[in-house]
């Protein structure tokens, strides 16, 4: 089930939230209910998937108990932690890495290996793995007391608002909220607004941009067998992908944070308008911060010792970015994407980029060029397609620059392109901040208009959702 689906908005969410607030007299029952709803949410598409989730919960809870006991007995818990991490990484390897590795091996040895590619990966497997490792390490480090209540632990792993797109939690940050929290009307209303904002970003902008990006990258992947991809078309596709990935991921984060607030959870912000960054370092302090924060805490920190030399720091950062790349996808292009980010971050650190006096506009152009080029690695899927797309974009394939299709795509979707670009910048927070300072008539007008705008946004989302899934003859079954 997706958050951006009618079944979630009009069936699942009202029931989940309604029952949750009916159980307001008991926090324990509220958690049991949220866990039940989360398992139903997870199992919806393929009930068998719930086995993975439940097994993951059981194994990690058990390993957590073992690590906790060993720590308390002052025995070495390191082997147990290593075994527990391996138990989490093995399914991730089988589902996410084995199929492409088998395909790769097959193409090297001229074998048709399809055995592993038929196993669909359970949704959210990366998030579940990262959450589980965070839990085990935090227990091992004794950063927090282990929560003995298995329901609370299961909720940490399976809570439905986080399952599809994060943010990635660190156990120590949320353990107390799971055990005890208080959802206020203020939280609820902020949560609702945040959820609808995220929904609109995902449905209205990201999904539309995905359609354009998919067509352009597919046409490029066909290497001119249908139509050539001139530079302008490649650029339109790349910009569409940049808008898709930002509004998709930040939309999911908004929905997760909003749903969290509705149920009384406060999570850290995951995106801070990264496309408005002034350096690559700045970009990575604003883009999916829970991912980099997780790797800093659970990869970089253990690798680093006090007073590490610069060489060691560089080496460790390199390893961290390779692992981030590999976590997001199993292909050379993801490794290259990791190296691409590492290179720019290290370069900026070496030349102390933040301190150099460069006009803001040039800084923005530099960050956008870095970011757009990085997305080519991320989106193309393999090295051959990477070279084809880059060749199209930089005019190396002889396809020229101008494209009727590019103009048509802009003509048909200029409103969404414009909205995508405007809302990538902190336009709304700036407006709200200005109004807050003034507290004048326009501020009062805004407080009246705001609920109407949000209602219109929700209506627009429902209209787009029904248009995409509507079956005009479904209702005729009633004839």
């Amino acid at each position: 089930m997706l958050y951006s689906s009618l079944i979630f908005i009009f069936y699942f969410f009202p029931v989940a939230a309604g029952v949750y607030y009916l159980l307001r007299f008991s926090g324990r029952l509220q958690n049991i209910w949220l866990l039940t709803a989360s398992i139903l949410f997870y199992a919806w598409g393929r009930p068998v998937q719930a086995i993975f989730l439940l097994a993951s919960i059981a194994v990690n809870y058990g390993m957590g108990v073992i690590i906790d006991r060993l720590q308390k007995k002052e025995a070495s818990a390191k082997p147990a932690l290593a075994a527990a991490c391996a138990l989490n990484l093995i399914p991730l390897f089988i589902f996410n890495y084995l199929p492409p590795l088998a395909r790769g091996a097959g193409s090297w040895f001229y074998l048709n290996i399809t055995a592993f590619s038929s196993i669909p990966a359970p949704p959210g497997i990366v998030l579940i793995t990262l959450h589980s490792i965070s839990y085990l390490v935090d227990i091992y480090r004794q950063d927090v007391e282990m929560d003995k209540n298995p329901v609370n632990f299961a909720l940490y792993i399976a809570f439905f608002p986080l399952l599809l797109g994060g943010p990635i939690l660190q156990y120590a940050d949320v353990v107390h909220q799971i055990a005890r929290r208080n959802a206020t009307w203020e939280d609820f209303s902020r949560g609702v607004c945040r959820f609808v904002t995220g929904l609109a970003k995902k449905v209205l902008i990201a999904d539309t941009m995905a359609l354009i990006a998919d067509h352009v990258f597919n046409l490029s992947a066909m290497s001119g067998s249908l139509t050539n991809v001139p530079a302008s078309l490649a650029l339109v596709g790349l910009i569409a992908f940049a808008l898709q990935i930002y509004h998709g991921l930040s939309g999911y984060a908004d929905m997760a944070l909003g749903l969290g607030l509705i149920f009384g959870f406060h999570y850290r912000e995951n995106f801070h308008y990264p496309y408005a960054s002034l350096s690559v370092t700045d970009f990575w302090s604003r883009w999916y911060t829970s991912l980099t924060s997780w790797f800093h805490n659970y990869v970089l920190a253990p690798l680093s010792v006090r007073n590490s030399s610069n060489d060691r720091m560089v080496r460790n950062t390199f390893i961290m970015w390779l692992l981030i790349g590999l976590t997001l996808g199993c292909d050379w292009t993801f490794l290259l994407w990791g190296i691409w980010n590492f290179t720019f971050l290290t370069f900026e650190r070496v030349i102390e980029f933040e301190n150099i006096n460069i006009p803001r506009i040039l800084r923005r152009v530099y960050v956008l060029a870095f970011m757009l080029t990085g997305w080519i690695f991320f989106r193309t899927g393999d090295l051959y397609q990477l070279s084809v797309f880059a060749g199209n974009l930089f005019g190396r394939n002889g396809n020229g620059f101008s494209s009727d299709i590019a103009l048509m795509l802009i003509r048909e979707y200029w409103v969404i392109f414009l909205a995508g670009i405007v809302f990538s910048a902190p336009a709304v927070p700036s407006l709200e901040a200005t109004l807050l300072v003034k507290q004048n008539a326009s501020a009062k007008a805004y407080s009246v208009i705001y609920p109407l705008l949000m209602a219109a946004l929700l209506l627009l989302v429902v209209i787009f959702l029904i248009r995409s899934s509507y079956d005009p003859f479904l209702a005729s079954s009633l004839l």
């Binding site: 009009f10 069936y11 009202p14 209303s189 359609l211 249908l226 299709i405």
Partner: protein
């Protein structure tokens, strides 16, 4: 801070009220649909099938869906767009809708389908019958359609061309409806509805007349020696202006698509039929004149005007002509396009059987043909429907 808190609170109140009330009414009104669709699941269906069905209904149909589609369509029209639903539907300069396709590659395995047609022909001939293939026209016409050069047009004529080419190679007879319509007096703008994938009822009449002419000329089956049945003057013709939105129009919404005029053609002579048909694994029977037996009024009343002819496609149906029990017996293996043609042909045949493999579980064709001796078996498909499922016969 206060104003934003108040504003958010106001929206949250609106949100929970509207979502709660809408969800309850939405569920109450969709409940019969859930019951029907879940009841239609074959015995032994698993949890996955049930959840899939619930998901499909919950996402595919909501209370006030027509109004929401209308609103979407209005937005598209106001923005001057020429596509709807992410290029699912595109509009040409004549206002005619078609499917969009960025990857127009030949996907239908037409040679294999033609081979199956040949096997069917041999089998039917062995029982004294004949086989004729009819291709329904594509939405895109190279002579008539006028799309902007950059729109991704889905031209399926290549599939039709390939199919007819292979049929010719395998010596299976066919009626190219594109040629039949070109040779008729019908204006190209009336071959198809602007808002539907189907050809118009008047185009069907022309194809029907052409088929009768072919059966007479090529096979000596003189169905209409006095040219009575193929004379449009013997039919009541009523125009319903701006009254029809077809499949594409319904999906895209009428502000974007506009509406079509619908010409209803019905016999103005004495008829009596019995129609037996299978729907949701239940056999129904209706007897009466053409308008009572072969015209489905519930579809008409709900705006599905084209599907009123024989009630659209169902897995199986049989038309028995109560006034001409000695006429020829026909079998149609087809999609929904040909239904009006069948309805016009019905007065000239003693019995017409119709099997629609794409409409659900239909009888095994080989067995069916062996059990009934047909004089002619017609296979008709729209090029977009030519698939392994449509030609699910004589696969060996």
């Amino acid at each position: 801070m206060k104003f934003s808190r108040r504003a958010r609170g106001a929206f949250a109140t609106l949100f929970i009220t509207v979502t709660a009330v809408f969800s309850v009414f939405n569920f109450a009104t969709r409940l019969p649909l859930f019951q029907i669709k879940l009841g239609q699941l074959p015995a032994g269906s698993g949890l996955n099938d049930m959840l899939g069905t619930v998901d499909y209904i919950a996402n595919g149909s909501v209370l006030g869906e027509n109004g929401l589609i209308y609103a979407h369509s209005l937005l598209q029209a106001l923005l001057g767009k020429r596509e709807s639903g992410g290029f699912e539907i595109i509009k040409d300069n004549n206002g005619e809708l078609g499917y969009g396709n960025f990857y127009p590659v030949l996907t239908a395995n037409t040679e294999e389908y033609a081979l199956r047609m040949r096997r069917l022909r041999d089998y039917v001939r062995g029982r004294g019958g004949e086989v004729v293939f009819i291709n329904a026209i594509d939405l895109f016409s190279r002579n008539h359609s006028s799309y902007a050069a950059d729109l991704p047009v889905n031209d399926l004529n290549t599939i039709s061309n390939a199919m007819l080419y292979y049929l010719q190679g395998y010596e299976v007879d066919y009626l190219d409806s594109r040629r039949a319509l070109k040779e008729s007096s019908l204006e190209p703008g009336r071959y198809r509805y602007k808002t539907d994938i189907h050809w118009t009822v008047e185009a069907c009449f022309e194809v029907f007349a052409s088929l009768v002419g072919k059966l007479s000329g090529d096979y000596g089956l003189n169905l209409d020696p006095d040219l009575y049945y193929t004379d449009p003057g013997n039919y009541r013709q009523s125009v319903f202006p701006q009254s029809y939105a077809g499949i594409l129009g319904r999906r895209a919404g009428t502000p974007f698509s506009g509406m079509d005029d619908f010409l209803l053609i019905e016999p103005d002579f004495q008829t009596k039929f019995t129609l037996n048909y299978l729907r949701d694994n239940v056999e129904y029977s209706v007897t009466g004149d053409w308008g009572e037996a072969l015209f489905n009024h519930s579809y008409w009343d709900n705006g599905y005007l084209y599907a009123s002819y024989l009630g659209g496609q169902t897995p199986w149906k049989r038309i028995t002509n109560e006034l001409a029990q000695t006429g020829p017996r026909f079998l149609f293996v087809c999609d929904s396009f040909v239904m009006p043609v069948v309805a016009f042909l019905a007065p000239m045949a003693s019995e017409i059987h119709v099997i629609c493999p794409l409409a659900g579980r239909s009888p095994d064709l080989e067995q069916y043909v062996s059990e009934h001796n047909f004089d002619f078996v017609f296979v008709e498909y729209y090029p977009g429907n030519m698939s392994g499922e449509a030609f699910d016969f004589f696969i060996r």
